[in-house]
């Protein structure tokens, strides 16, 4: 019971070419940097990444793009990573820009059993192209569909050995939401503590959502 700790070799075994990954972080804050190191080490190819932004070429998941391991990215902002724009123009990276609130809600829908949702965001802009429009009480909305991934990589501020997670500061961002929306969830623990240490009232991500815990210090 509660044997969720994973070695870097076992994590590497989970990685496959063409995987769809959700990765936490907002401009690199709250990104699982050590798990990203391991992806770069294994050099899996043609990944699809779902993330808030493509960070910087030398920080967070932006490094996966700089290393040319990504074939497609769904994100709200690429402006801080020149590599994303460059590869997009060259044609080697497919970029789908999604409004930030719509992106996180599509992930939430995917993780919480919803078939989609109606949002006013994007009405009258290029975002509405190809989408079903509905009028509710006189206001126009776009139908946005759920997103899921093969694997979510989250960064926990403090994780207990059962897999309960609390987050520190703004490192929370996408992490607790993507933890619902993937077949496998791996948490990189900023700090690992014994079961019973964390106050159950403070837990943000409940333990059963986390399949594996990676503690960088153990290697």
């Amino acid at each position: 019971m509660f044997n969720k700790l994973i070695s870097k070799e076992k994590f590497a075994d989970l990685l496959k070419d063409d995987m769809v990954l959700m990765i936490g972080g907002f401009l690199g804050c709250g990104s699982p940097e050590k798990l990203i190191d391991l992806i770069i080490e294994k050099r899996v190819k043609n990944l699809t990444i779902i993330c808030n932004d493509t960070s910087f070429p030398d920080k967070g998941l932006g490094r996966l793009i700089a290393e040319k391991l990504v074939g497609r990215v769904l994100t709200s902002h690429i402006g801080t990573n020149p590599e994303t724009g460059k590869q997009m123009v060259e044609g080697s990276l497919k970029v789908e820009l999604v409004p930030q609130g719509t992106l996180i809600e599509r992930i939430r829908a995917g993780g919480m059993g919803l078939g989609g949702f109606l949002t006013p965001t994007g009405v009258g802009t290029v975002v509405e192209e190809g989408k079903q429009k509905m009028t509710i009480d006189g206001r126009e909305y776009l139908l946005e569909l759920p997103l899921r991934a093969d694997m979510a990589l989250i960064k926990g501020g403090t994780v207990d050995k059962a897999g309960n997670v609390i987050y520190h500061g703004t490192a929370r961002n996408f992490n607790p939401v993507i933890a619902f929306a993937a077949d496998t969830v791996v948490a990189e623990a900023g700090k690992l503590v014994d079961i019973g240490t964390l106050n159950p009232e403070s837990i943000v991500t409940p333990a059963p959502l986390v399949d594996h815990i990676y503690v960088p210090a153990q290697d």
Binding site: C29, T102, I104, P120
Partner: protein
Amino acid sequence: MIEDVKLAKETIARRIAKEFKNDQIVNLGIGLPTLVANHIPADVNVYLQSENGIMGMGPAPEPGKEDPDITNAGGSLVTVLPHGSYFDSAVSFGLIRGSHVEYTVLGALEVDQEGNLASWIIPGKKVPGMGGAMDLVVGAKNVIVSTLHTEKGRPKILKRCKLPLTAVKVVKMIVTELGVFRVTPQGLVLTEVHKESSVDEIRANTEADFTVAADLKTME
């Protein structure tokens, strides 16, 4: 015309800060809008919201007290006030889309007399992505555009935006270093003119059609 860009931006920020009232939630964009925080009167408590997951954002940390896990939506290190809180991105955009945010202040590439806003893309030249801007301008109760009146001599307040839109008919107020406009059902209205400018100067630098308010005020 205020020639000094820094002074012009401070003028805009100072004017916008006067809009806020106690207990309102305010989201300030990156760049010029961020300057607004420096001008909020000490006796007005607003909650600065940052879309990466903060309510009650404080100023930059003192040297030695920086925490890499406490940043704003531009990635800069910030602090959180004692009455503040953190939340995930879904909650953050629930606050935004759900009209809990009273004011969003952001810049513009173009803004027009109908309140349309273009702020996120120059096709073929600059494609940074929309980030949270589309949600913010659709969801906040009041959208304030803060912008220099012209860019390289060209008006930014147009009859109709030419660039791809961030949102349709959402802007309520436009503040530049020359004056203040309100977008009303009757069209664009100039409500304030800066003490060093004039209605004539504003007309010469604005493409949009606008009327002048009967009770035109002076902007400091």
